[in-house]
């Protein structure tokens, strides 16, 4: 089922996507589906396991479900400290 979702990109993903956020109509069930469908946008060759995701500002898992109106935040590999 198609849902309207806001996707936000950070760091290298933002540079590859050329935008920090966009609203997309997507046929997805999980956060992992969003990542997979947008892989060409954020230009990542990173395995899913090296990246992280948050939904509506809460850390989530790649199998977390995505609902209509959710904001999905795609985090490339982090490097704090």
């Amino acid at each position: 089922m198609t849902k309207l979702i806001k996707v936000r990109y950070f760091a290298g993903f933002r540079e590859s996507a050329g935008t920090d956020e966009e609203e997309l109509s997507m046929d997805v069930s999980t956060a992992g589906d969003v990542f997979a469908q947008l892989q060409h946008r954020h230009g990542s060759s990173e395995p899913l396991g090296h990246c992280k995701v948050a939904i509506n500002d809460e850390m989530a898992d790649w199998d977390s479900s995505v609902k209509e109106g959710d904001t999905v935040l795609l985090f490339p590999p982090v490097a704090g400290g």
Binding site: A11, H50, V78, G81
Partner: protein, 150 residues
């Protein structure tokens, strides 16, 4: 857990942890060094997604408090452009004895590095720059992988 664009002043942060019941204070300061992976680094830029970084940092601190008998804990991470020698991250803990203070400080900095949505871009002396990937190398100590760009 605090994210700041201002200089970190460890001595001032330490004062907030003072406690008559504390027999140990352990802190960690992460500094900007002038090289990485054989490249000369000129400065470093931190991008932080604050809403989630603060929540996740608070979770790490709560976990440390559950794992170890601590008196006080604090962690501050910089955002923005940093020069060589500046303090990028500070962790401080106090406890009755040193063993738990050392262990908790180590736990917090290790978790902060791999869980908080923070990214660093190194700007090299030669003029190019690259995002650093610390997560993949966290298990290997100091090794870094750099994705270079403009």
């Amino acid at each position: 857990m605090k994210i700041t664009a201002d200089s970190i002043e460890p001595d001032k942060l330490r004062d907030d942890l003072l406690d008559r019941g504390a027999g140990a204070y352990v802190s960690f300061e992460g500094w900007i060094r002038d090289h990485n992976d054989g490249q000369k680094v000129q400065r470093l830029e931190y991008e932080v997604y604050e809403p989630v970084a603060i929540k996740e940092g608070e979770k790490v601190i709560e976990e440390a408090k559950k794992k170890f008998p601590l008196l006080h804990v604090a962690c501050v991470h910089r955002s923005g452009l940093l020069e060589i020698g500046e303090c990028a991250v500070w962790v401080g803990v106090t406890s009755a004895h040193r063993d738990e203070a050392f262990a908790a400080c180590r736990y917090i900095i290790d978790q902060v590095k791999v869980r908080l949505p923070i990214w660093k871009k190194e700007h090299y002396v030669e003029g190019h720059s690259g995002w650093v990937n610390c997560e993949r190398c966290a298990e290997h100590g100091h090794k870094h992988s750099v994705v270079t760009g403009n």
